[in-house]
Point group: C2
Chain length 344, copies 2
DNA sequence: TTGTACGCGTTATCAC
DNA sequence: GTGATAACGCGTACAA
């Protein structure tokens, strides 16, 4: 590999001058700058960011921690983040945790050893124990899509209460009165918020909560299938289900098919997130859309601002979701139909 | 940040000794090694990989270049790659090109500046001009899922001819005689192979190629929809379509719905790759399964072996795909049905 | 078995 | 304007 010393020798100047030329120092005269740059290009010089990082105390890379890149929700975030990192000349180190705190911990160490300049965190559950270490170590980071109440950390999230309300009100507006909810994990903030907003929205319309129609579960298709089966097998089953994310909704689709319920004729279904799955032909899931890619972008943009020292005010971004009505919601079956089905 | 000097001072030894202890040098006595290590842990020491990389000429990271992390096919590869990189202590720098050669080029430069130890390349079309630069620069790399004939580079691919044959033979075995094909880009090797194998498989069964039933397009849902519409609107439309990947197949699903054809009653459909979309409820696409995650794993494993200097023979892995029969294939409609539909 | 001294490629601080 | 020189944190010949 060619170094600035090689260029210096070839140009008949000192390494310092080469460095200045390459960094566009105002101290040099234009003429020498361009001359040296041409020479560098000719020799195929590539700056060594390891060396640069060593002296400047910055690596020019950020870490992105997610549970699973295969989950389209996180892939969207990754995409937004990578996009802005790229245009700002930063690298992004991909770290997947599989939801395992131990893996998260080891990734965090790897990233510190690599001296990443900042972190984008998504897989953070409420009790995540490593966050205080990060603030102690003074590593800039942003929480993406998951909020941690006990900490005063910068974040980008969606307005979960508003989103859940949109879902429930949509169902009510087309005539549903018997609306169930399958939630995410109990210890995740967004999960709690969606549950609460669901209950509030029902209450506002004078619809009493029905015992067993709303459950905490987990953000997976499996959970959706299992709980969907349970809820839909009840004698007094709901005519509509609001799923706390799209994966759960897909599980409910499976359950509905197993139980012999048609969507949307017999059962209306609303998801959350509007991941790529939701728009697929035949799925066509009505869902609450979060600007997921945008969340990744905003988080990365802020993080890099902080790193570059240009930003001061702490990021507290709450993005408004909106409802995307597709083909999994329709008015509930008439009473006759309902009787038919509940006895069947 | 605490350095080995700090530890040396605290331990009353020289920095060199600390370095040796941390790298488990056989020169040191166990006792001092463990003592120093404990001390390092206490002080919260984290090795500076920038400095280490500078002296060793290796960064401890590899680059992963893909067109789009949002595409489940590439997300699968990324997952496999990240998984093995993680256990072997390497970082992976995520680079997405959006299929733009210019972006690919700039990423390649960034990665060289970061002195990555190796590269995983997926978005490489046949004319990719940067590959020779890489071999010239002596950067280890592996081609994943895309083959470049003119170059003698290590690769992991699926056996596309075999896969395509599986698809076509399945369709023939359940009674289809009128089988169309919508391919990927003409300049991609796997695309060409699938097309050829499709034609060979037909010919072997004595089924003559029909003019206009087989087309090169691109690996996107849009392409599937457009070409699907075109092929399915013909008077002499096929009773089955083989799509060169699952995204195309999804587009065909849309087209079929537009045209009023039911799948699989009126039209059988086979995809390729078995991405996560294919297994979704209501999609349930019959498809040729590639071990995509495994491809990422194998590629990374080999790359890191090369980097560590433990591997010599060039990787030329061709993985066997298998057919996953789901619900988009069925025997063709009877002749009466066919007449009905073509006049409708 | 351990310490000394140097170099990895760059930037920054002095001089000139 | 430009050139020495000294860091940055670590690994490693060489010496002890």
């Amino acid at each position: 590999m060619v170094t600035i010393k090689d260029i210096a020798r070839a140009a008949g100047v000192s390494p310092a001058t080469v460095s200045r030329a390459l960094n566009d120092s105002p101290l040099l005269r234009e003429e020498t700058k361009t001359r040296i740059r041409h020479l560098a290009a000719e020799l195929g010089y590539e700056k060594n960011e390891l060396a640069r990082g060593l002296v400047k105390g910055a690596s020019g890379a950020i870490g992105l921690i997610i549970p699973d890149i295969t989950n389209p929700f996180f892939a969207d975030i990754a995409r937004g983040a990578e996009e802005v990192a790229r245009v700002r000349g930063y690298g992004v180190l991909l770290c997947t945790t599989e939801g395992d705190p131990e893996l998260e911990r080891s990734h965090l160490h790897l990233l510190r050893r690599k001296r990443v300049d900042g972190l984008l965190l998504t897989s953070v559950t409420a009790e995540d124990p490593y966050l205080e270490d990060l603030v102690r170590a003074n590593v800039p980071f942003v929480l993406v899509s998951r909020l941690v109440r006990r900490l005063d950390a910068p974040f980008v999230v969606g307005d979960d209460r508003h989103g859940a309300r949109l879902a429930v009100e949509h169902l009510i507006s087309i005539g549903h009165r018997r609306i169930g909810f399958i939630g995410g994990p109990k210890d995740v903030q967004s999960s709690q918020d969606r549950m609460e907003a669901y209950q509030v929205a029902l209450a506002e319309q004078g619809l009493p909560p029905r015992r067993g129609w709303a459950v905490f579960a987990s953000f997976t298709q499996d959970a959706g299938r299992e709980w969907g089966r349970a809820l839909l097998s009840r004698k007094d089953r709901p005519t509509a289900l609001f799923a706390a994310n799209d994966l759960i909704a897909l599980g409910v689709m499976e359950a509905a098919e197993e139980v012999g319920l048609r969507i949307p004729e017999d059962l209306s279904l609303v998801g959350y997130d509007n991941i790529s799955y939701a728009a697929l032909p035949r799925i066509q899931l009505t869902t609450v859309a979060q600007p997921t890619v945008e969340m990744g972008r905003i988080a990365a943009e802020y993080l890099l601002d902080v790193i570059d020292g240009s930003r001061r005010r702490k990021l507290r971004k709450v993005l408004r979701p909106h409802l995307v009505v597709r083909r999994t919601t329709a008015p509930p079956p008439s009473r006759a139909d309902t009787r038919d089905l509940t006895t069947g």
